[in-house]
Symmetry: C2
């Protein structure tokens, strides 16, 4: 038995297909009784519209593309980061009846822009979500904008007032984490910076300085190190920092991977965590809980951010484009085992 079509529904309900279409698409100008009749027919036949036919007729697919940096590549965000975003986007898409297409891509590749445009031209998605750090790269962003397809960028670091984008309050919550460390008695709090192309990550450094000031502590460039978001760079920075005569008693890292690197070095050097050294990260990737001791970190609401972005795109496809603004979803501190009172 073939799937029921809109015609089947129409004849069963005794109306025209246009009316069915109106009901299905929640358009106005349908009488209550008519709507009920149609909905009953839909239920009876288990009708659901054919997406291909819809797309063909409307020139737009009920589909959202999630673009992010390829985890197979160098310096890529970790798997948990991606899975979280996917989850959020999927959840929002499902309740809206949209599908999610994932599109990891390597920004080091010459053809990323062209590939992206080709994809967009082919599938005609209702919208595109671009994750950090891709969301801050002109090459990527401009290529997408050229297609005129609706696009929401994640964690761009700062809004420009001209478009809708979604971010978290990195700076504020990083300041909060710094104050938290200070409240534990730490006075030498080091910081490991992350990838500079990732603006949201550099916001965390600003937050660190804010927190220092708020806690009445002095900023010292000598206990700030330059990482690149990878575990390896976390190890390198840790070795440098921990070899100093005035060794910091706490290290705050711009992401969890680097914090994991610091933890590795501490374990190797026989430095007790959190007894002699407190470590804090950012992102709350699943690794954070799997380490021993489990990492104190900042939970970035990636899932909620992706869901919010998806929703905005879905609404846009339905004729309600979001107002230009930077939507901020607050992160929160997760205190676990890697932080404790400062040693005497």
């Amino acid at each position: 038995m073939p799937r029921p079509t809109i015609d089947d529904v129409a004849s069963l309900a005794g109306v025209s297909i246009k009316t069915v279409s109106r009901v299905v698409n929640r358009e106005p100008n349908v009488r209550e009784v008519t709507r009920d009749k149609v909905e009953k027919a839909i239920a009876e036949l288990h009708y659901s519209p054919n997406p291909s036919a819809r797309n063909l007729a409307s020139h737009r697919a009920r589909l959202i593309v999630l673009v992010y940096d390829d985890p197979g590549a160098y310096q890529a965000p970790s798997a948990g980061y991606i899975i979280n975003m996917q989850q959020g986007a999927l959840k929002a898409c499902r309740t809206a009846g949209f599908e999610l297409l994932i599109h990891p891509c390597n920004y080091r590749n010459r053809n990323v822009g062209k590939d992206l445009q080709e994809l967009i031209g082919r599938v005609r998605p209702a919208g595109i979500i671009v994750a950090a750090p891709l969301s801050n790269m002109p090459k990527i962003v401009n290529a997408i904008k050229a297609t005129k397809a609706p696009c929401v960028r994640l964690s761009t670091g700062s809004g420009n007032g001209k478009e809708y984008s979604v971010a978290t309050n990195d700076r504020e919550v990083s300041a909060e984490m710094t104050r938290f460390l200070a409240s534990l008695g730490h006075r030498h709090i080091a910081f490991i910076k992350g990838n500079k192309r990732h603006k949201a990550v550099s916001n965390r450094f600003d937050g660190y300085r804010d927190g220092l000031k708020q806690a009445g502590l002095e900023y010292s460039e000598s206990i700030v190190a330059d990482g690149d978001n990878s575990i390896g760079s976390g190890e390198e920075c840790a070795e440098k920092l921990l070899r100093r005569p005035d060794r910091p008693t706490a290290i705050f890292c711009a992401n969890d991977d680097m914090a994991a690197g610091v933890l590795r070095v501490a374990t190797r050097l026989g430095i007790d965590v959190p007894g002699q050294l407190s470590i804090a990260g950012c992102d709350d990737i699943s690794l954070a809980q799997q380490l021993y001791p489990a990492l104190t970190t900042i939970r970035q609401p990636l899932s909620a951010m992706a869901a919010t972005a998806s929703l905005a795109l879905v609404d846009g496809a339905r004729g309600n484009p979001p107002k230009p603004k930077l939507e901020t979803i607050p992160g929160s501190i997760q205190v676990r085992e890697s932080t404790g009172p400062a040693p005497k």
Copy 2:
């Protein structure tokens, strides 16, 4: 400027649209010269077929659905596991001009079967890939089979000779790992079993026993523990195992998460790894390399498996369904820091 259509190509090449269609779909019965003309026109116009129109007319989408257990749920496989599969499937899909739809689902949910059928009916994918442990659950598998959509199951544990499926040589490579541990001088090699619903995981236990026999070691039920694939269960089993008077000098776990749990307990108990205890896992999820010491494990070729499954589905959509067989892709041992010579 709107996208070129098949009509544009046809008129530019001076042929009918049916001929263009033949060329695009690589059908026979087209003269060499005609084909060239058409291909030139296609190149000149940068033409690419509209997927929605194709799907509508052919009743099938150029799309593959990847179904796996929801990572948000209890006992779920880790993020790295999923990302790996996605990567493999995506790679194969891209070169074939197909898209990948991801569909995490929670098998504990009452409606998984119905939801799956609804999805399949809606998008009409060219095929479906079902990952373990879902691939071994009748509820899921039967629901998909009822739709008649082509389906390839991953890691079903054993082939039934009636269908095409893809797996790895869990048993053989687990035996190899056991022999490897034995070759390091270990004579008390414990094993932590995994989720029983995951057949491929239980194959590893069989491999363990094979390896023991091959190494001339005796099997003892007393140093085998029952885990459930989670980190927590790894910890529980480890505490039991490590408290025994005849403490094992090596613990081989049916997956990496449980091995991570064992490592946590060892660290907590002050047992040196690998000096006093060797630990080995299975799967080579990214966590394995991030731990300290990094985990010796078995690399499961998930990416290659997913790619192979995708390819089979794509071929099937093109009229070349794969022969019924269990396609086996070999795994390999990754020796890292968590294993070493047995203590005296």
